[in-house]
């Protein structure tokens, strides 16, 4: 039972981590980036290239990955968002899906279809606590998710740039009128969103292997988590992520593993019907 709960929480922390990247972009431009999973996959392959192909030390691999993901986030914004700003939101969403497919196929062409393992800074080290097996890498994921949540919250609430992001998100024109450099703010939000996805890729690849299709399922789960937590709400996403991980583990453990994925999406539909603002979201009225 405790092992099941621990495994569920570990998976939940991963969902939450991916959702944090999704929300970074959403909180700036109110657009759901459906390529967030594919950005995570690119981060995983950056880790693979750095550690396995170029034999870099782990700290350098992480540093290079963050830098490359920031650039990719900027390019992503220029391709998927910038040309369509001001157009109906669904066009941007469709473009993010298209860019995600392009990223997936590019990685397939460059690295091939075979899954490949990415080393963890902790190897396969673990602690045995009675019957429980606690992987050090999983604890690292918990710690990183918690740290990123705090940093992101502090950034949004306590920095000038964070307030500019919030202002841009609430009313782009008004923000521009009061002197916010909107394009620069949006660009930084995309760069940070991609960097968070890169962090997710570096952290999950040692557990799951890197493969070109790894992002789609994880990206969808991050979307589910964001809806359940209340879109835009950081701590809501983390709590919803942990909750979803736990529920999935318990469903697989005590009902049937066949229903594990189905249950997550039934939960999504149920929230959309009953409480579309999510657990911690507030009801919003449409701007006229």
């Amino acid at each position: 039972m405790f092992q099941l709960l621990l495994n569920g929480l570990a998976m939940g922390a991963i969902y939450a981590l991916i959702a944090l990247g999704l929300l970074q972009i959403f909180n700036a431009v109110r657009i759901v980036n459906f390529a967030q999973g594919q950005l995570l996959m690119v981060g995983a392959y950056m880790g693979l290239a750095g550690s396995a192909h170029f034999q870099m030390p782990m700290w350098m691999t992480y540093g290079v990955t963050f830098a490359a993901m920031a650039i990719l986030g900027l390019v992503f914004m220029l391709v998927a968002y910038y040309p369509l700003r001001g157009k109906p939101f669904y066009l941007v969403i469709l473009t993010t899906i298209a860019v995600g497919i392009v990223l997936e196929n590019l990685v397939l062409i460059i690295f091939g279809p075979l899954p490949q393992s990415v080393p963890s800074p902790f190897g396969s080290a673990h602690w045995n606590v009675g019957e429980l097996v606690v992987s050090k890498h999983v604890v690292f994921i918990f710690a990183t998710t918690a740290a990123l949540l705090l940093v992101q919250w502090w950034f949004l609430m306590h920095t000038r740039f964070g307030r500019m992001v919030q202002a841009t998100s609430q009313d782009m024109e008004m923000a521009r009128l009061v002197g916010v450099r909107v394009h620069r703010t949006v660009a930084v939000a995309f760069m940070l969103g991609a960097m968070l996805a890169g962090a997710g890729g570096l952290l999950v690849a040692p557990l799951f292997l890197a493969d070109p299709a790894m992002g789609s399922a994880l990206g969808l789960k991050a979307f589910v988590v964001s809806v359940i937590g209340g879109f835009g709400n950081l701590y809501g996403a983390v709590i919803a992520g942990l909750l979803l991980g736990l529920i999935e583990a318990l469903v697989a453990g005590y009902i049937s593993s066949n229903f594990r994925d189905a249950f997550a999406f039934v939960l999504l539909v149920a929230f959309l019907f009953v409480r579309p603002q999510g657990m911690f979201g507030e009801k919003q009225s449409e701007r006229v």
Binding site: A10, M11, L108, L207, F208, S257
Partner: protein, 384 residues
């Protein structure tokens, strides 16, 4: 000096002329180049399987053309990406049929082949496949021929091996939740039932799932004495990793994915050690020098280690070449010859057609010793 009798020389020359004439006669009905087609997933989550068909057929065609082709005519291969979806697999087959290939290869993804079934019938072109669903050849499609062992054969062989050879009586079944895994799970449970053994756990995971720890934890507490694992190399590697991470020391046996080079490459020696696999033949393993050379050459050219499917498609292309040499490019004659094949020797096994168009009946038994995979036996379908 030893002088050959004149009569012998004349006889040998006549035999050579007759043989060449026969080949030329076979190939005379063929266009030049001879069109061959292949539809297989080269993108999507099943691309790591689909790529095996491409590298197997391409390797064989490369060798055959370099050796002069058939009667001086070379093969030309057209390839379409079936992606991971049935409709795309069907569309790709329809597009390839428009090019009038003399033989078409489809993939190892059974749902794709079920979708393509009518197009195959209407196209009246022999189609060689490696889809492993046992029901695939029971559709009564005379143009369909399978060159790989199927789940029905494995579902019979693996439980018998577990019970009779490994002496285990509490198996836990863990499969990927798609047509491949769930179909196998039913067959495995039925076979265990015949042996008087009831699995202590029957679990599955989604095709794109990355976390199988809940299922493994359940198996750990079920009292199982062996895990029977059925999946693709990518997800099987994750299961073996997570098994070790959870401290589960139960032996694992499964389809060839548990011992495939693509799986073992992603595991540590501890994660890989002790896993058994039963299924199509793996070219990297054993002492067959031709198979080892094939595996080495493909890996060098494509950076992808060939597996049981790669060998199957390579053999199937050579079969096609031999048949065309004999009967030419009439599609019905090619089909009939392939369906009448007896004891045709491939790279690692001998192929004989049965009345349903099944060509392969031999499986290898493999075991990982650390990261090294060893062949520990061979099973003929229907016998252990």
């Amino acid at each position: 000096m030893h002088v050959l009798p004149l009569r012998f020389l004349i006889g040998a020359a006549a035999a050579c002329a007759a043989a060449t004439g026969a080949y030329a006669q076979g190939a005379a009905s063929c266009p030049n180049p001879i069109p061959i087609a292949l539809t297989t997933p080269l993108t999507s989550g099943v691309a790591l399987l689909g790529i095996q068909a491409k590298l197997g057929v391409e390797h064989a065609i490369g060798e055959i053309n370099a050796a002069g082709g058939v009667g001086g005519k070379t093969f030309k291969l057209s390839i379409e990406d079936a992606t991971g979806s049935g409709p795309n697999a069907l569309n790709s087959m329809n597009r390839l049929m428009e090019g009038k290939p003399v033989v078409l290869f489809s993939s190892m993804i059974s749902p794709h082949i079920f979708t393509q079934n009518d197009a195959i019938k209407n196209g009246e072109t022999p189609v060689l496949v490696a889809g492993t669903n046992a029901q695939l050849m029971k559709q009564g499609n005379p143009w369909l021929i399978r060159m790989h062992v199927h789940d029905g054969q494995l579902a019979d062989a693996v439980p018998r091996y577990i019970v009779e050879t490994l002496k285990k009586s509490k198996p836990a079944i863990l499969v990927v939740a798609d047509d491949y895994g769930l179909g196998a799970s039913k067959g495995l449970q039925a076979a265990f039932d015949k042996l008087g053994v009831k699995p202590v756990a029957v679990e599955s995971y989604g095709l794109n799932d990355k976390d199988m720890t809940a299922q493994l934890t359940k198996i750990k507490t079920s009292g199982a004495d062996i895990i029977l694992l059925w999946g693709r190399p990518g997800d099987v590697a994750i299961v073996l990793k997570q098994r070790k991470a959870l401290g589960i020391e139960l032996p694992v046996i499964g389809n060839p994915s548990t011992v495939a080079a693509t799986t073992v490459a992603n595991l540590t020696p501890e994660e890989s050690d002790g896993a058994y696999g039963i299924g199509g033949m793996l070219p990297q393993v054993g002492t067959n020098q031709k198979a080892l050379a094939f595996a080495k050459d493909v890996l060098e050219r494509t950076k992808v280690p060939p597996d049981n499917f790669g060998v199957g498609y390579r053999d199937a292309m050579y079969m096609v070449k031999d048949v065309i040499e004999k009967v030419g490019c009439d599609r019905a004659k090619i089909r009939d010859s392939l369906r009448a094949l007896k004891d045709w020797q491939g790279l690692m096994i001998s192929y004989s057609a049965d009345k349903e168009g099944e060509l392969a009946h031999t499986m290898g038994i493999y075991r990982n010793k650390g990261k090294v995979t060893e062949q520990i036996g061979v099973i003929k379908a229907g016998s252990n």
